[in-house]
Symmetry: C2
Subunit: 109 residues, 2 copies
């Protein structure tokens, strides 16, 4: 059985993974990959529902994925742990494999 210590580790890891596991949040992370951005620009780029964007941003801040600074009226978010981006290269690999399998299946029909 798992030790308490390992259980705690897996729980923490799951919290971080959960904080990424949403289409809009992934879109936000992708949008932030090169540069920090204000909520205003994130909203324009990702989704017009400001309050929803705010919530998604705060989920990722709580999880330690993003950080922000205030500049006048604007709040500017940026990736705190850019290695998150590597995660997507793996996910993309999973998706490619799935596509390959579907292709195989299709050609067998």
């Amino acid at each position: 059985m798992l030790t308490r210590k390992r259980q705690l580790l897996f729980k923490k890891q799951a919290e971080i993974a959960k904080a990424i596991a949403h289409p809009l949040r992934i879109a936000i992370v992708d949008f932030l990959k090169d540069d920090e951005q204000c909520v205003c620009d994130i909203a324009v780029h990702i989704s017009p529902e400001r309050s929803n964007v705010s919530r998604h941003l705060s989920v990722m801040v709580s999880a330690g994925i993003l950080e922000y600074r205030k500049e006048g009226l604007k709040v500017i978010y940026k990736l705190k742990t850019p290695c998150i981006l590597e995660f997507f290269s793996c996910i993309t690999a999973v998706l490619k494999q799935q596509a390959k399998e579907n292709e195989k299946l299709l050609s067998a029909l």
Copy 2:
């Protein structure tokens, strides 16, 4: 705004991320990192609730993270996309950074 195509991509990526984002599922992936394992051993190692373990396994199979084969009565699961493991090294980096910050905060009190 996001194109439909990119929205679809982010949705797919989120599905895969969601399939990992659970403490038990992470524990299972970790348990499978070196070798394939039957449900019986996974249950012994991770959690005694067989039906719950079954469900978590099927979530990850649907997402394309795991695959399985049957051998007699046993069903043996293995990682289909081992790059998932790299994901954890990033998550661990996030956790380490958080720990460092907490330390800093503590020493400032």
